[in-house]
């Protein structure tokens, strides 16, 4: 180790690997992963969220986690976005592609994609 820059490079490289353990960020993305969710394809959705959040450099702001069945099995895969001080947003019938879009527009840009929300699906 000859310079601080080398140390900083290792720190940057490793940071993503331990940041998960620092607890929750401001935004929590929760993917429904009960049997119904998994059957409808929640696994690729969850993985897409994890990957895209990392790519977008949002790991210290956004926590991606999973939950059980929330009771609207016909709309699975269901993804809920919790943000402090804001109303919960529920996305339904998610896919990996839609997940990438949510990360880009909603988590990064702050704009809810109403087309994918449960309110839109019901009305």
């Amino acid at each position: 180790m000859k310079s601080l820059a080398e140390l900083a490079a290792i720190r940057e490289k490793m940071k993503d690997k331990v940041v998960l353990r620092e607890g929750s960020g401001d935004i929590r993305v929760v993917v429904g992963m009960a049997t119904c969710g998994i059957a409808a394809g929640a696994r690729p959705v969850l993985n897409a969220f994890v990957e895209k959040v990392n790519e977008a450099g949002l790991t210290d702001k956004v926590t991606v986690s999973q939950t059980g069945c929330i009771g609207v099995c016909q709309f699975e895969p269901v993804v809920e976005v919790f943000e402090a001080g804001k109303e919960k947003v529920t996305y339904v019938k998610m896919t990996a592609e839609k997940a990438a879009e949510v990360v880009e527009k909603h988590l990064k840009g702050g704009e809810v994609i109403s087309e994918y929300t449960i309110t839109n699906a019901i009305s």
Binding site: L20, R21, G23, S24, V31, F49
Partner: protein, 605 residues
């Protein structure tokens, strides 16, 4: 891409309750479920709640599973990691009250993380900050949590004088028990010119019931490597020794790995960070002699001689290891250093009390619900430690006293439970911070017996070099035995006190100078108990066997013969359906009759 991490405690406590098998089961199970690309299993150091081990934490949720056995692993993997359903039956549920109020819909374990529990919420983790958070065998993970950044800062931006000033200003005092200001210790060594100086880390943790140093070494070995290198730079030393007992195999192994990794990365060795500063580190294994925790005896042992103390002065800062100026600090003291450098003296000094800054780690043991390791700001009351963090005394028993500082310490009686724990307050009540063992005692503990236990320990561990310690402690032990056997006199109590003060004043090293403390403290706070042994020939706690008599209350005895059948020495006689009688000349006071009586007809006292 890793979406979730499973931390499995690999500390000594959890290892002995089976965490190795749990770790292996997780590795196997995630492969079986095809999750090995998404889930990472991380072995860590001690989480602190050893009582509830093996401990498993799942992130990002922070779910805290306790007492996980290998047969539970498949369920956690399938339910939690695959389906996102938390395995509620294994979740540690002792959650802080304010968190419960926040969760309006009632208690939902999926929303509760490790940090919400009472045990963790009241703690302030500085020395233990990485224990149970990073993989202790990975230098990369240590670097990711700002590891070696303090060393980089010191070597590239600061002069040795500036480093010592920061440590002095922080108010850090020696955590091994003495409480000597660390900055001042460093400045003494720095001021002495010599061709060679040394840094020594005292990891010879020997107090019965103390295991905080072990946990730091096992959970965060790199922080000790980093801190010792910083100390070397500040004091002008280029060689360091870690003296650790051979009974700590996991700690030794992880230290060896840490030193190897640091060497590989050039964080130990020649010309670190291109600063021109070089530092090397060696491990020396102690054979477990208590006296080697005393700094001069420790150095004598490193030199390859029998571990015996030498007179001071000359102090180690002048003439220490191999006759050269040496700085010797305890593990926990070193563990604070990198954070002080990175966050500044003011940050550290903002915690604690006026003359005791920062935090202190305590090993909670004895009659307490949450046996384990806690780190609290100085000035926290004993009540908070025992009743809140420690979860109180189990089985509805009454708290009697807390023993601090092991065989060198004293005890805090229940009447002083609101004492704010810091160096000066403990000294003021005739107690001692010590290294941090905190043994909780309830009404079933006999204080004379406790004093005798510690005296037995010091008699065994006295190195024999000086007479006050070698002979004096033996005589004290004999008097205590006399008292617990019911043959003591009131003069014995005075003799005990006189002897204690004499040994304190005249012993060569810390071992002898502090050995009488448990007796002096118990005499001070529990003299009535001593007097009960001497005058009434009774042991109020019912511990001292010679003073104990089991009696059958004739009115309550139904004559079922169960006690007589269970007595191993045939001391109980009586006819069926007639009250039985115990022959005390035969009775060995094992208590089997009392345990077996269904009618509560047998009493002891």
């Amino acid at each position: 891409m890793i979406r979730s991490q499973v931390l499995v405690c690999g500390g000594t406590g959890c290892t002995s309750s089976g965490s190795k098998a749990v770790l292996a089961a997780f590795e196997e199970e995630i492969v079986k479920q095809g999750l090995d690309e998404e889930i990472k299993i991380v072995p860590t150091g001690c989480f602190g709640l050893c009582e509830r081990g093996p401990v498993v934490i799942v992130y990002p949720e922070g779910t805290f599973y306790s007492r996980v056995q290998k047969d539970d692993v498949a369920e956690i993997v399938e339910e939690h990691l695959l389906k996102g359903r938390i395995v509620e039956r294994l979740v540690y549920k002792d959650v802080a009250e304010d968190v419960k109020t926040e969760l309006k819909d009632g208690f939902d374990p999926s929303k509760v993380s490790l940090n919400d529990t009472i045990f963790y919420k009241s703690q302030k983790r500085v020395a233990l900050r990485n224990c149970g958070v990073i993989n202790p065998e990975s230098i990369d993970e240590y670097i990711a949590v700002d590891g070696y950044a303090a060393l980089g800062k010191v070597l590239t931006e600061m002069t040795p004088e500036e480093v010592i000033k920061v440590v002095s200003d922080s108010g850090l005092r020696g955590r091994g028990g003495g409480g000597f200001p660390t900055g001042r210790k460093w400045s003494f060594t720095a001021a002495n010119q010599a061709d060679q100086k040394y840094v020594v880390c005292n990891a010879d943790e020997g107090d019965p019931g103390a295991f905080m140093d072990r946990s730091v070494l096992e959970g965060d070995p790199h922080c000790i490597v980093e801190a010792m290198t910083i100390c070397g730079y500040a004091t002008g030393a280029t060689e360091g020794y870690i003296y650790v007992r051979a009974e700590y195999p996991i700690a030794v192994k992880r230290l060896e790995i840490a030193i190897e990794q640091a060497k590989e990365y050039g964080l130990l060795g020649d010309n670190i960070f291109d600063s021109g500063f070089s530092f090397n580190l060696h491990i020396r294994l102690g054979a477990g002699a208590f006296v080697c925790g005393e700094e001069t005896a420790l150095m004598t042992s490193i030199e390859g001689n029998r571990g015996e103390p030498r007179p001071r002065p000359p102090y180690p800062a002048v003439k220490g290891l191999f006759g050269k100026p040496t700085t010797e600090n305890n593990v926990e003291t070193f563990a604070n250093i990198p954070q002080i450098i990175l966050k500044g003296a003011d940050w550290f000094a903002s915690m604690g009390t006026e003359r005791s800054k920062g935090t202190k780690v305590f090993a909670l043991g004895g009659k307490i619900t949450n046996t384990g390791l806690v780190e609290i700001p100085m000035g926290t009351t004993l009540r908070k430690v025992i009743e809140e963090i420690g979860g109180g005394v189990p089985n509805g028993k009454k708290f009697k006293a807390a023993q601090t500082g092991g065989p060198s310490g004293g005890c805090i009686p229940a009447s002083l439970i609101d004492t704010e724990i810091d160096y000066d307050n403990l000294t003021a009540i005739g107690c001692m911070m010590g290294s941090g063992g905190l043994i909780v005692m309830d009404e079933d503990n006999c204080m004379v017996d406790i004093a005798k236990f510690f005296l037995n320990f010091t008699v065994d561990e006295s190195c024999g070099k000086c007479a006050p310690c070698r002979i004096g402690t033996m005589r004290m032990k004999e008097i205590l035995e006399k008292i617990t056997e019911g043959n003591g006199t009131l003069e014995d109590l005075d003799k005990l006190e006189e002897l204690a003060l004499y040994i304190k004043e005249n012993s060569l090293c810390g071992l002898g100078q502090t050995a009488p403390n448990p007796v002096l403290a118990t005499l001070k706070f529990f003299r009535d108990e001593y007097e009960a042994h001497v005058v009434d020939h009774k042991c109020p706690a019912g511990v001292c066997k010679a003073l104990l008599n089991y009696t059958i209350i004739a009115d309550k005895c139904k004559g079922c013969t169960k006690c007589a059948r269970n007595c191993p020495v045939g001391a109980i006689s009586g006819q069926v359906k007639q009250p039985h009688v115990i022959d005390n000349s035969v009775c060995i006071k094992c208590g089997a009759c009392m345990d077996n009586c269904s009618f509560g007809a047998i009493i002891k006292g």
